[in-house]
Assembly symmetry: C2
Homo-oligomer: 209 residues x 2
């Protein structure tokens, strides 16, 4: 059975919903649905991909479900992350509290701007981009976030992969080429805005009858 990749961010939502439940030991697909805005049928379907977590009619044991969802998401361990690009966006990521609560820790940050190199931000000394390969390899880091300008992104990503990075969150507005076996997620904020203007356009002036 192939697990649709769209179910993974919903698993993240269910996990967060469970964390928000206090002083209860059992939850239900209906409760998780209410907390996440998904349907109860969707909750049951997503969870069923990964096993039998509850008994019909008696709901899900919260401690068991929490521990299983953490395993599914791979956040039953800490992950060290490399950040490339410490402009405004990269600096925002260094201060982003949401990472640490989920077990992600930015361990090193690189920039090619000599004015930024050796400055300390959020306890991280920014390194010259020339130290990328050596640092990533020696720390055995698997995940990188790329927050460099468009023109620099493909080169940086090639260097990250040759240093042993297996998974990349790319925030530069390009679609980089990566070899098979490397997980790549692109977030392009202007493409996200176009999803919104598409809907605004459709509701104001539908293209189709």
């Amino acid at each position: 059975m192939k697990i649709p990749s769209s179910s993974i961010p919903r698993i993240s939502l269910y996990y967060r919903a469970i964390l928000s439940l206090e002083a209860v030991s059992v939850t239900s697909s209906q409760q998780l649905a209410t907390l996440t805005g998904c349907s109860a049928a969707q909750v049951r379907k997503d969870l069923a991909y990964f096993g039998q977590f509850g008994r019909p009619g008696s709901g899900y044991n919260i401690e068991v479900l929490k521990s299983e969802l953490k395993k599914i998401l791979g956040i039953d361990r800490k992950w060290e992350v490399a950040l490339v690009g410490v402009g405004n966006l990269g600096s925002a990521l260094l201060t982003y509290r949401g990472f640490k609560t989920q077990g992600f820790s930015i361990k090193c940050a690189f920039d090619n701007d000599t004015k930024k190199v050796n400055k300390v931000k959020q306890g991280i000394r920014i390194k010259d981009i020339d130290e990328l390969e050596r640092t990533v390899k020696s720390k055995g880091i698997n995940i990188a976030i790329v927050a460099v300008p468009r023109g620099a992104a493909q080169g940086v990503i090639d260097r990250l992969i040759s240093s042993g990075i297996k998974a990349i969150l790319n925030l530069a507005p390009i679609r980089p080429r990566v070899p098979k076996g490397i997980e790549l997620l692109n977030i392009d904020l202007s493409i996200e805005l176009e999803r919104l203007t598409y809907f605004l356009r459709q509701s104001a002036n539908p293209l189709r009858g």
Copy 2:
């Protein structure tokens, strides 16, 4: 025929691919596939949702396709955007060049930190959050980006909607409640990282045989 919402960001990619083509007047689904990493079948299917743009065997006229894709995406006009929250992430968005090239312009920015209010960033004077309703209404702005901390997000979003905002890009790590007819997109970076660790976990130590 219902258009799947997943096809919209691909339309954005095809549009960007066309912009990158120089000195040619015709393109093909195969060329757009190569440039975007989608399959040629996917390109044909996505474009077919919106009409008949090419003749079999002769490809797509680039000028026609460009103009039609802009209309579909709603970027055949300029859009003014309100930004709420001018911390690190909000500041990064103010300097983000990708918006302007697609016709998005951040017209006003709000914060509740009196140390930030009245400071000018990227030509925008940051306003007190108390001016939100009046400003958004008087400028007739439809789109907002929310980059405030978790605890403030739902309240800000309620205020934006009551001021006439129709579409929201939410970067705070919550799933806000919005009424029907309001378009909401959530980007939660730690959920995105969990999509990566899910895959790392599966490839290192599959949960299922």
